[in-house]
């Protein structure tokens, strides 16, 4: 089975996120009044061949831990779609 994986990698909470701040500032300057708590990170999508959804999740988790996210500075969330 092929699964579509979506990974969202964001700066660890508490670490400064200047990119998020810059976007928040720009949004405000452009008149988007209600936006706050903006964070900017990386989105990674990929197709993964796996036996099952659980397998896909396990493999994707290993990918994140080995390569896709930096454990010192980043947190990730994973989503396995059809």
């Amino acid at each position: 089975m092929s699964y579509r994986i979506h990974v969202r990698v964001l700066p660890r909470t508490g670490l400064l996120d200047p990119q998020g701040q810059a976007v928040e500032h720009a949004l405000t300057a452009l008149g988007f009044a209600g936006a706050g708590n903006v964070h900017v990170g990386k989105a990674i999508t990929l197709d993964l061949e796996a036996e099952s959804r659980e397998d896909a999740l396990a493999t994707a988790t290993r990918m994140c831990d080995t390569l896709l996210a930096n454990p010192v500075t980043e947190d990730y969330t994973l989503e396995v779609a059809g």
Binding site: H25, A26, A29, L30
Partner: protein, 766 residues
């Protein structure tokens, strides 16, 4: 025309649209051109063939409106190793070294997608240089945008600078200079001209001349995608709603692959495994293979089904016209293919045979066994109709030339501050701080002075370089403006202590079918040619970019000139800022207070008008020779040419110091006796050519005055460099002005950053 009526019949590729008059128009070919094609083939072309013609007969590839004018450039000289016609020009240096250099535009792609447009512009010019067997050692860039007060221009500027930087930084080539101007004439059609300078051993010079029947053509590097199909013809029409709809898919740059391609190409060239090499630039595989074949007087047979593609189902039309980046075409003997693949594999690149050299002179393409293109190769490249458009000076230009400002002169102290705050004149630190300028550890002078200087490894000499154009002068008087552009470039080179050697040019103009545009083009080229002849700086190549128009008309005519020079002894290089209190200051040349076309009128009095200052080529040459001699004698502490902003602008820059100076320096300048008949405004801000500002140890004064006299250069001792963080104090019979130099520095350094701190949206709502 050869081949008339004898060309083999090519087949339509399955699913291809029939060639109708509508389709021909879409391909930007006119009736006359289409008839020439039919006559050449002795039949109607297939759609794929039409695509091939539309690329090679586009303005960008065929130079159909510019060729007769370009032929008037001086192209020879003892220093010329390779003149126009190859991927880059090459000039001779001492000790068996040579310098390859070239400038190219990426204007339309940058208008659409500033980041990728600018990035791929840098990628393309790097490939032009390393294709010659030269290692790129420096890049420069010339940028023109509409005013920074408008968010769209800030967005474009930010994206372009990031794109230029990210690409060059990643490949590892330092940016040693450039220029940036802002003017309403570039609204909607920014200019991005990128220049590359490379070094090679003259004996390693490579060419893009295919020969040897049976030799193999290989594509090296990235896979071919649907990027930028028809980029060459897109660059050859005005930006409009219609062109927007035909807009090619954006080309995305991959500087990492470029770096691998650079190393692999240089290794292929020095290994002796290849016959010829050419990058796939505008019109991709089509122009690279057809031009290589035409140069060698041979034919080629390509099989597009062998080309590695990024997406399945690409047609021969798409594969032939794709402008995917980071690809090269190589010609080699069959026995060498394996060795070539080994070299490429080491650099993690593939090299794929896609065709061979033939003896029939035809440009043929098969796809899955079907012959889809068969065109006489020489005619394909050379037989595009050539046009001699009408040239008439525009009434508007004539009127502007005789106009004078309507606003009264403001307080002159404030005027200088206003001038230094104008983004076109202010420090470009915000820009070049984003460009690696020290990688390769050979930067003798980086951005922020008159010219960049790079050391040649293992020798005592260096190469100086600059890129310049004062488009306001060109707009107001194209002939004098053309001369002025070369003169300013040469002055910049000479100020570093280097001898000007030759130029490359990037001729950015509007629609050449408009008589007033063609007039600008013809006259500016005449000016460039005359100046190059006078200075013995031949034209070694360049690029023409027409159709730079937007809804309000043509851009300001912008014939950018890139120049290189030889700095014989690096230990005698001179930089442009004052060095220490107590040094003496002198002005070289004659000031008449010429304000027509000046930055002062344009930026302070909001008056883009007047006749620009005329250039005395003889006096310029003498000034250059004096500067080189004085530098070689080790007599100068600093030298800065007088250009935009005149004497006051140059003095301010010399006091403000380099981009990361520890402090500013004051100066006490007395002009009494220099040009007493000239009024205050003209004295401060006039832009007479042939002038420079130098500083030196007081003990060298007599020797310098003597040297100036020998060169017939007027020499005027004007004062002394003052204290750290001191005052610039300037007097003349009619002036007594003071500026605090730390304040001038603050204005000059912050002019661009303070504007760029305002938000610039990327998207549709602008």
């Amino acid at each position: 025309m050869t081949g008339s009526g004898t060309t083999p019949r090519a087949e339509s590729f399955p699913g291809e649209r029939p060639v109708t008059p509508e389709v021909v128009r879409e391909h930007n070919l006119n009736q006359r051109e289409y008839e020439a094609i039919v006559a050449m083939l002795g039949r109607e072309p297939t759609l794929t063939e039409l695509g091939v013609f539309s690329a090679l007969w586009s303005e960008h590839c065929s130079y159909k409106h510019s060729k007769p004018i370009l032929k008037t450039f001086p192209v020879t000289g003892d220093q010329v190793v390779q003149g126009p016609g190859e991927n880059a020009g090459v000039l001779r240096l001492p000790d068996g070294w040579a310098v390859a250099f070239k400038v190219e535009s990426h204007n339309h792609p940058s208008a659409v997608e500033p980041y990728q447009g600018a990035a791929t512009g840098v990628g393309g010019i790097l490939r032009d240089v390393f294709t010659m067997g030269a290692r790129p050692v420096a890049v420069l860039n010339s940028l023109r945008l509409g005013p920074l007060e408008e968010p769209r221009n800030r967005y474009l500027f930010g994206g372009i600078v990031r794109g230029v930087g990210d690409y060059g930084n990643c490949v590892g080539v330092p940016t040693l200079g450039g220029e940036v101007y802002f003017s309403p004439g570039y609204r909607g059609n920014p200019l991005v001209n990128a220049m590359c300078v490379g070094l090679l051993r003259e004996s390693d010079l490579a060419t893009a001349r295919a020969h040897g029947v049976g030799n193999i053509l290989l594509t090296v590097g990235a896979r071919t995608g649907r990027d930028g199909i028809h980029g060459a013809s897109f660059a050859s029409e005005e930006l409009s709603a219609a062109s927007e709809a035909r807009r090619p898919q954006v080309q995305v740059g991959d500087p990492f692959t470029e770096k691998l391609l650079l190393e692999a190409s240089l290794e292929l060239i020095t290994s002796g495994q290849i016959v010829a090499i050419q990058d796939m630039g505008a019109a991709g595989l089509t122009s690279s293979s057809a031009e290589m074949a035409a140069r060698g007087g041979v034919g080629v047979l390509l099989d597009t089904s062998l080309v590695p593609t990024r997406e399945p189902g690409m047609t021969p039309y798409e594969i032939l016209l794709s402008e995917s980046q980071e690809r090269m075409l190589v010609v080699a003997e069959p026995a060498r293919v394996a060795a070539i693949q080994t070299i490429c594999a080491k650099w993690e690149l593939s090299a794929t045979p896609v065709g061979h050299v033939t003896d029939d002179g035809l440009f043929r393409v098969v796809h899955d066994g079907l012959l889809v293109v068969a065109i006489p190769g020489g005619d394909l490249v050379d037989a595009c109709p050539i046009y001699h458009p009408e040239a008439v000076e525009g009434a508007e230009a004539i009127a502007r030339r005789s106009r004078v400002p309507s606003i009264k002169a403001p307080d002159l102290t404030a005027a200088l501050e206003q001038l230094l705050d104008a983004p076109s004149l202010a420090s470009k630190r915000w820009v070049f701080e984003q460009y690696d300028s020290t990688v390769r550890a050979s930067t003798a002078q980086g951005p922020g002075g008159d010219g960049g200087v790079v050391a040649v490894p293992g020798t005592a000499f260096g190469v100086a370089m600059t890129i310049d154009c004062n488009s306001r002068y060109v707009a107001l008087d194209p002939y004098e403006g053309g001369k002025a552009t070369v003169a300013e470039a040469a002055r910049n080179i000479a100020c570093t202590g280097a001898l000007p050697l030759g130029i490359t040019d990037c001729l950015n103009f509007g629609n050449p079918e408009k008589p007033e545009v063609f007039f600008q083009f013809r006259e500016a080229c005449r000016g460039i040619a005359d100046a190059c002849r006078a200075f013995d700086t031949p034209v070694t190549g360049g690029n023409v970019s027409f159709y730079n128009e937007n809804p309000t008309g043509a851009i300001d005519p912008t014939p950018t000139v890139g120049m290189v020079g030889l700095l014989a002894d690096l230990s005698h290089q001179v930089s442009s800022h004052f060095k220490a209190a107590g040094d003496a200051i002198a002005i070289l040349g004659t000031s008449t207070g010429h304000l027509g076309g000046s930055s002062y009128w344009a930026e302070v009095l909001d008056a883009f008008c007047g006749a620009p200052p005329p250039v005395d080529l003889d006096a310029e040459l003498r000034l250059q020779q004096f500067l080189v001699a004085a530098a070689q004698g080790g007599l100068l502490r600093s030298a800065h040419d007088l250009s935009d902003g005149g004497l006051a602008g140059a003095l301010a820059e010399c006091c403000i110091g380099g981009p990361y100076a520890d402090q500013t320096l004051g100066a006490k300048v007395t002009l009494t006796g220099h040009a007493d008949q000239v009024g205050g405004e003209g004295l401060l801000f006039g832009e007479d050519h042939g002038r420079a500002l130098v500083s030196f140890l007081p003990g060298a004064a007599a020797q310098l005055a003597q040297l100036a006299a020998e060169h017939g250069v007027p020499w005027f001792p004007a004062g002394v460099v003052g204290a750290v963080d001191g005052t610039l104090h300037l007097t003349s019979p009619s002036l007594d002005l003071r500026w605090e130099t730390p304040r001038l520095r603050q204005i000059y350094m912050d002019a661009i950053p303070r504007r760029m701190r305002q938000v610039a949206p990327s998207g549709l709502e602008q």
